[in-house]
């Protein structure tokens, strides 16, 4: 174990574990966004022929999973574990989507960090020799999330500038110990950080300290520096959260200005699409990883990426009781070369 653990929160993956296939399905608004061409499928309306938004979200997960498996060329029997989670209470989107999958599954809740969380655990499962192929998948749906966390869609209210827009989308990856990269090389697991932000319309500020902590810890644990990466990308801090994160990281002596991006800011055109601070939700980082990042890494535009999923761990009950919002961020290093 000594060889694998680096510092307090990071493990170095010592066998080549590849992302062998990815898939993403998004809603119409995301399809019209700047990354629209990278997704496998854009659904025409948010209900997708189902009776409820929750069912539509489940269907997205199910179909995304089918696409991942299809593209990988593996059979269902070869998949050892499914790691899945979403934003809905008791993770019903994932649990209902995989009712008939017949594959051992771990249900995860990491709020919007679920993509990075599931990929972290999946990588470690394979590195530990407990699995050959693992599918990590997650989803979010604007309508079901609004319904659960905020107000009815048709209620005439205004959103403050720091508010974010939950992505309608499902994205996932298959990890395997046989493959030609990109490889997951480091896993930095975040700890919960709560700096006392209570405004659920300002989740970027609630999550930024956690993201900054994970990024800085990753550098400290591994001895790497920001310049070792072409891209450091956080999940869904939005424009304001990104600004805060950048500042918090630089206060600790690391300059990430030149190669830092945020999925929440890429998934929509916030001016044209009126999404205020940007995108959010589990789907936000998941579809960006499965679509844009994976394809651009395959093309060689990026070779070393630090992908940091960020989550705001609030519930409607905690918010009503006046609790602050704990944040979490999980980092994985994805590299085209395995050393």
């Amino acid at each position: 174990m000594q060889g694998k653990r680096k510092g307090k929160q990071t493990v170095k993956i010592d066998i080549p574990i590849s992302i062998i296939s990815t898939a993403s399905i998004v809603g119409p608004k995301e399809g019209q966004g700047p990354l629209g061409t990278y997704y496998d499928m854009v659904i025409e309306d948010e209900m997708w022929g189902e009776k409820s938004w929750e069912k539509a979200e489940s269907k997205m997960l199910k179909e995304t999973f089918a696409k991942i498996v299809n593209k990988s060329g593996k059979s269902m029997d070869e998949i050892n574990y499914l790691l899945a989670g979403d934003l809905l209470n008791q993770c019903i989107a994932s649990n209902f989507a995989f009712r008939d999958a017949g594959i051992p599954i771990f249900g995860l809740y990491g709020a919007c960090s679920t993509m990075a969380e599931s990929a972290s655990i999946g990588t470690m499962l394979i590195n530990g020799g407990f699995a050959d192929n693992v599918v990590c998948i997650t989803s979010s749906h604007f309508c079901s999330a609004e319904k659960q966390f905020r107000f009815p869609l048709e209620l005439g209210s205004q959103r403050p500038p720091t508010a974010q827009w939950t992505v309608v989308g499902s994205g996932g990856i298959m990890l395997s110990n046989q493959g030609i990269g990109p490889y997951i090389t480091y896993v930095t697991t975040g700890k919960i950080i709560d700096m006392g932000i209570k405004d659920s319309n300002n989740m970027g500020a609630a999550m930024a300290p956690a993201a900054a902590d994970t990024i800085v810890t990753h550098f400290k644990d591994t001895g790497l520096s920001p310049s070792d990466y072409d891209l450091i990308i956080t999940g869904d801090l939005g424009s304001f959260g990104k600004e805060l994160c950048e500042e918090l990281v630089s206060k600790q002596g690391y300059d990430i200005k030149n190669n830092y991006a945020d999925c929440g800011m890429m998934v929509y055109d916030s001016e044209k699409q009126d999404t205020h601070s940007g995108g959010s939700g589990c789907g936000c980082s998941a579809v960006t990883l499965a679509g844009y990042l994976y394809q651009e890494m395959k093309k060689g535009r990026y070779n070393n990426v630090l992908f940091v999923g960020t989550g705001a761990l609030l519930s409607t009950t905690s918010a009503q009781q006046g609790e602050s919002i704990p944040g979490i961020a999980h980092g994985i290093a994805i590299q085209n070369k395995f050393e």
Partner: protein, 148 residues
Amino acid sequence: MQKLFTNKEYVDYVEKKAPKSKMARNVIRAFAVGGLICVVGQFINNVLTAQGFGKDMAGNLTVLIMVFIGAFLTGINVYDDIGKFAGAGSIVPITGFANSIVSPAMEFKSEGYITGVGARMFFIAGPVLVYGISASVVVGILHYLIKF
């Protein structure tokens, strides 16, 4: 991280730095749209009065019609757009009250008519009703005791 800031310092810093809503613009929009809704109400009221309805009856009918308009615009997915533009301007008038009841009713239809529509219909307007009615009872009792 904790060493960099205390929670209070961070919250204050975020508050200071967060992009703010455009107050002047929002106030003007709220004033204009809220005023417009009231003008429509007044127009309906005048028409009804001209039709020979008494003052009380015309008032009640106006409320009825305005609530219907609010509910109808919610049902055809328009009221939320008005609300996004006007903010308090479309929340405060009685049309906003209709919107706050119809929108959850639509939203929770997938949970059925009893536990969904029926139970959730008042989850936004409920507090307004509870405290509005309670206040009117208190004022009524006071009025009875102190004949002013």
